[in-house]
């Protein structure tokens, strides 16, 4: 019964976020500039949550998330530029996500045998290869990139894909398959000794992460008009990793909170362009010194957590 109630609370909260967003958009409080920031935020949340599945929960250090994102972006753009309708857009998102997942599978099978730093280097190489391919393909228009990608992203779509990603990945983690992935992070030898097929679960997590990164890329293409290979370089992979580490390795709500926090910081610093990156970097360093496990550690934001926090506060003060 308690579980059921908690489930309902989650849906009510999601509905609330959607309605508030919709009202802000309709009343025009969210102007074009703020809506662009919101879109970037949602895309970053999808990217961070999906990378957290690979790096935070399954423990596979990946530096190639921007590569999967770019595949989704280009595939979706190429489709919507030909079929410029809502079904075309949905087809584009789906095809983009599937293409990214397919590449994730092909790359994952051989590279996921590597561990730690070696895997990081391999995934970094993969993302570079993907970028170079887009740079040299004729259909993607090389370095000049694609211009005039039709814009389909509105608040309802943005909300649907972001909330959907969080919901599905959270469901996966709270299943026996998700728990199997977590045991790989904890101790791979012990996990294999209790019958968990390490390769299979690593590839599953990697392919799922790539799928959702593909969705994020598709949304990017369908909002920002143009695509260039340089948009998906090494620094974007690092940006995503920063969100994951800052929020807490192995905490989905941590990733969401960190993405929001970083969006706020960079929006407020917009008026000081010279100092913006300096402040940003200093903020990161300070947070990492004060909370090396990330904002949330491996905990999730929940009502139990808030209640416990309140209780320990009270105990301390009495």
């Amino acid at each position: 019964m308690a579980l059921l109630q908690k489930g309902w609370l989650k849906y009510i909260l999601m509905l609330l976020v959607f309605v508030v967003g919709q009202v802000l958009v309709m009343t025009g409080i969210l102007n074009d500039y703020l809506f662009a920031t919101l879109t970037t935020l949602c895309i970053n949340i999808i990217l961070a949550v999906s990378l957290n599945l690979i790096t935070g929960f399954t423990g596979q250090f990946s530096l190639g998330h921007a590569g999967f994102m770019s595949i989704g972006a280009y595939v979706c753009a190429l489709i919507t530029m030909r079929i410029s309708t809502i079904p075309g857009f949905l087809l584009g998102v789906f095809a983009g996500a599937c293409a990214a997942a397919l590449v994730g599978f092909i790359v994952g099978l051989p590279t996921l045998r590597l561990r730690g730093d070696y895997l990081a280097i391999a995934t970094l190489g993969m993302a570079e290869i993907i970028r170079i391919v887009f740079l040299n393909l004729e259909i993607t228009n090389g370095a000049a990139g694609l211009n005039g990608v039709p814009q389909f992203v509105t608040w309802p779509w943005l909300f649907l894909f972001t909330a959907g990603t969080i919901h599905l990945i959270s469901n996966f983690i709270h299943s026996a398959h998700g728990r199997a992935c977590i045991t790989l992070r904890e101790d791979e030898i012990a996990a294999e000794s209790i019958g968990i097929d390490a390769t299979r679960y690593k590839v599953t997590a990697f392919v799922m992460g790539a799928f959702f990164a593909g969705i994020a890329g598709s949304l990017y293409a369908s909002y920002f008009y143009f695509l260039r290979p340089t948009l998906f370089g090494f620094s974007r992979s690092i940006d995503i990793l920063v969100i994951v580490v800052l929020g807490g390795i192995g905490s989905l709500s941590g990733s969401v909170i960190a993405a929001i926090l970083l969006a706020l910081i960079s929006t407020y610093l917009q008026s000081f362009p010279e100092l913006r990156m300096v402040f940003y970097a200093v903020a990161l360093v300070v947070i990492m010194i004060l909370r090396p496990q990330g904002l949330m550690g491996s905990k999730e934001l929940s009502f139990d957590l808030l209640r416990n926090l309140g209780r320990s506060r009270k105990r301390r003060s009495s």
Binding site: N171, H174, R179, I182, A191, E192, S193, I194, G195
Partner: protein, 261 residues
């Protein structure tokens, strides 16, 4: 008696060091067999060969299940577990940041029936099977008096409970053969005697065959029917505890040679 495991001429070396040389071993249904030997004799290496962590260079390992025979060499660890061989580790390898319950229920994954779709959408199949998993895990935890600690993190358990939890996790994989690598290491005499009772109880109630590595002679001598003795990678003796106690080669391996001559 039915044979459960037969190992023939198993060998493994690391560089120039022969860790295990041409070892033969046989286990029969329902037996509790001890494997002893001085430090560095190759006992843990032998376990790692049986469970697929190391690949043997020579020899064969065969697991008998009813009329079927599976050869275990060249199989991966998870595959060997699926065939019914479970183990614990000398240096405890729990999932330290997971709860006690999670440690046990992840070990039941090999019999999991639901796939990726129910996992993503939490369908009715998912709900039903997850409830069953929790129920079965709690039953298992009850045996080790751990059910009240189910939601605690494994790393916060006292040492003795961690040892017990590792055995519970191994049992959760539904094995026919259980390999225990020094289960009493670091335990005091009272804890050891409690563990001794638990191991006997498990063997009777789970229809298991157990192979046990142990340094604590009181534990091995009191519960094992047969023993094998390894020294420098060679199997130097085999027999009942009484026979082993008197075997001159075993005494020599443990206490050194008589300087008198």
């Amino acid at each position: 008696m039915n044979k459960v495991l037969s190992v023939q001429k198993l060998s493994k070396s690391f560089g120039g060091l022969a860790a295990v040389t041409s070892v033969n071993l046989e286990l029969f249904q329902g037996e509790l067999v001890g494997l002893i030997g001085p430090n560095g004799a190759g006992k843990t290496t032998f376990f790692n060969l049986l469970t697929g962590i190391y690949m043997p260079e020579k020899g064969s390992i065969e697991l008998h299940r009813g009329s079927e025979v599976f050869s275990l060499q060249k199989r991966k660890p998870h595959d060997i577990c699926r065939l019914g061989v479970a183990r614990t580790f000398q240096n405890i390898r729990l999932f330290r940041d997971l709860s006690v319950l999670d440690n046990v229920r992840t070990a039941m994954n090999k019999n999991l029936k639901y796939g990726l779709f129910p996992a993503l959408f939490h369908t009715g199949t998912y709900q039903k099977e997850e409830e069953e998993l929790v129920e079965k895990s709690m039953e298992l935890l009850k045996i080790f008096d751990l059910e009240s600690k189910a939601s605690e993190l494994a790393k916060n358990l006292p040492y003795g409970d961690q040892r017990h939890l590792e055995i519970a996790r191994a049992l959760a994989t539904d094995p026919v053969l259980l390999l225990l690598d020094e289960p009493a290491a670091g335990m005091n005499p009272a804890e050891t005697s409690q563990l001794t009772r638990t191991i006997s109880w498990i063997r009777e109630n789970f229809d298991l065959t157990i192979l046990l590595i142990e340094h604590d002679m009181s534990l091995v001598m009191s519960i094992c029917e047969r023993m094998y003795v390894l020294d420098y990678g060679l199997m130097i003796a085999e027999g009942t505890p009484e026979m082993i106690k008197k075997d001159p080669r075993v005494i020599k391996a443990y206490l050194g040679e008589d300087l008198h001559a």
